[in-house]
């Protein structure tokens, strides 16, 4: 009788909870302890706004902790590799736009360079430099999105809205160069379709003056921000060995401390003419990824400045009439141009047979093109080495034992782009 009384008494006693604000009864506490021993399943995605794309993760949770996760991908698979086997070379450029759509010019030029390697075409210096300028602008816009969205996921919206104005400026430069903004379809096999206009030059100049101030301000908002650092330091860390084992490339690998950058390891498009650093991190965590991307933006600016100052004069495309689409007015007025135009469009040009692998440093890693040509009008086989498809498989390993909210910011700091992942 006495025992029973004691039990009820204890149950009705009120204990202060950890934060001292809400109170909790002993019976409630017992209930909580019991329920914590049971795992539950949480379906994160596919259309959760914090996943920035269509990703599904079925998480096994113990309270707020993730025990295991099973990712499902492929929601926006568009069969690019099959499509590419049925299109002439120059019609594949718009497909590459839709891989990593945050930095589509890099993909476009990567594809053009792959075909140029197959054809054995040398680019004039001016084309290389123009490509470098645009590719580095694209890298800035890619990293800018990733870093500012990471801030959004930690709850800081204003920085994101602020730097997006700068992304708009980059898109205006694209627009001036090729007419499109997001899916750029920029340039052609053999160079550019037109020279840099005076307006484009002015816009790039303005950007180079304006952007450093903005990025500096953005960094001063976040880089040493106590709340931001507490939130992301040590979250979603990956060691260098594990990163290499999982095929990491790009900023994510460099954040883990490996100084691998395709621009330096196998230089393309005259990258060896420029002086720039490869920033590396130490711990491979979310904060390091943030810092590496920030530092890369400064280095990209450095490259653009050098390329812009030393921009050589000369033609904006290689002299390869068999592969480079002639300007429209020449097609109408010049017999030879008309013939070449017809031959290129009807794909009656001779293409060497062989296998080519070419890779570029994309926004989020090594973007590779493995092209098998049988001499026909279309590639016999085209395989895209899509960096985030390969490194996203480490995600379950990276978030194991972490909190759910950490899983969200780990994903956004990895810069996983659904379009590229699903191919």
């Amino acid at each position: 009788m006495e025992d029973f009384k004691e039990e009820t008494l204890r149950d009705e006693m009120v204990f202060p909870a950890d934060n001292g604000q809400t109170s909790i009864t002993a019976s409630k506490t017992r209930e909580l302890i019991q329920s914590e021993q049971d795992l539950y399943t949480l379906n994160l995605g596919p259309t959760h706004p914090a996943t920035h794309g269509i990703f599904q993760n079925v998480l096994q949770m113990d309270g707020e902790k993730i025990i295991s996760s099973v990712p499902t991908v492929g929601y926006i698979h568009r069969a690019f590799e099959k499509l590419a086997e049925h299109r002439p070379f120059y019609q594949i450029t718009p497909i590459t736009d839709r891989l990593n759509y945050c930095s589509s010019p890099i993909n476009n030029f990567g594809w053009h360079m792959t075909v140029e390697k197959l054809l054995g075409v040398e680019m004039p210096k001016r084309v290389d430099y123009l490509r470098v300028i645009v590719m580095e602008l694209a890298r800035i816009s890619d990293h800018l999105i990733c870093n500012s969205v990471l801030a959004v996921d930690t709850g800081a919206l204003s920085g994101f809205l602020y730097v997006f104005q700068m992304r708009e400026k980059i898109y205006e430069i694209y627009e001036e160069i090729c007419g499109a903004r997001l899916t750029t379809n920029m340039g052609r096999i053999g160079g550019f379709e037109r020279d840099l206009s005076a307006k484009a030059v002015q816009k790039i100049k303005d950007f180079l003056i304006e952007f450093p101030k903005v990025w500096k301000e953005f960094e001063s908002l976040l880089t040493r921000n106590r709340i931001f650092m507490d939130r992301i330091v040590g979250v979603g860390a990956i060691s260098a060995e594990m990163a290499l084992d999982y095929g990491f490339t790009g900023p994510n690998l460099r954040a883990a401390g490996v100084d691998y950058d395709v621009r330096v390891a196998s230089p393309y498009s005259s990258y060896n003419d420029f002086d720039f650093d490869i920033p590396v991190g130490e711990n491979g965590d979310t904060y390091d990824r943030f810092l590496v991307r920030s530092a890369e933006i400064w280095n990209s600016l450095k490259i653009i400045n050098q390329a812009f100052d030393n921009l050589p004069e000369g033609p904006y495309h290689a002299d390869v009439p068999e592969f480079y689409l002639p300007p429209k007015e020449e097609v109408y007025n010049n017999m030879e141009a008309l013939i070449y135009h017809f031959k290129i469009v009807m794909a009656e040009i001779e293409v060497p047979k062989g296998e080519v692998y070419h890779s570029v440093e994309g926004g989020n890693g090594e973007l590779g093109f493995y092209l098998v040509s049988d001499g026909g009008r279309t590639p016999y086989r085209l395989h895209f080495r899509r960096p985030c498809f390969i490194y996203y498989q480490a995600y379950p390993e990276m978030i194991k034992g972490q909190y759910l909210s950490d899983a969200i910011i780990t994903m956004s700091s990895m810069n996983v782009i659904a379009g590229e992942l699903d191919g």
Binding site: V73, G74, H77, A79, E81, K82, L83, E85, H86, K117, L118, L244, D245, Y246, G247, V258, Y260, A265, S266, G354, E355, V356, Y357, S359, E366, G368, Y370, V372, Y380, R381, H383, R385, F389, I390, Y391, Y392, Q393, A394, D422, G423
Partner: protein, 168 residues
Amino acid sequence: MIKLTSEEILSRIQSAFTEGIVEAYESFGMLTVVFKREINIELLSFLKQDKDLNFHFLTDLCAVHYPDRENEEMGMIYHLHNFFTGTRIRLECFFPIADPTIRTIIPLWNSANWQERETFDFYGVIFEGHPDLRRIVNVDEMDYFPQLKQYPLEDAVREDKNDAMFGR
């Protein structure tokens, strides 16, 4: 670290593997070695662990379908990379589509996991020893391997489109 030439790399491979190497050639600046599928793990782990070769990074793996090559319809292509010297190597092996099996290389690189699943998804290559060999980007109910050359680009059962004009 000294950068090895293609000939030196090849002679090392040939001295380690007396059997199983079919041919080797250079294609657009990349050494390409064709081997028999029976030695895929041994060859790749030799390339990964040999101190001088040190091809420690698996860049890419994919399959290619050549329906016209008898008994060698299916090709597996591996790209390896040595970051330190900046050397790349391509490894190829061919086998009949009637028996599209090859051993998984996940023990060497975890990054092969999804790439092998993708190859299975599109080409039907069976990777022996793969822990989770199921479709990755296509729907689970799909009952064919769409990247094989016999399948047209668009769904063959569709009747609402006439593509005769475009030669597809």
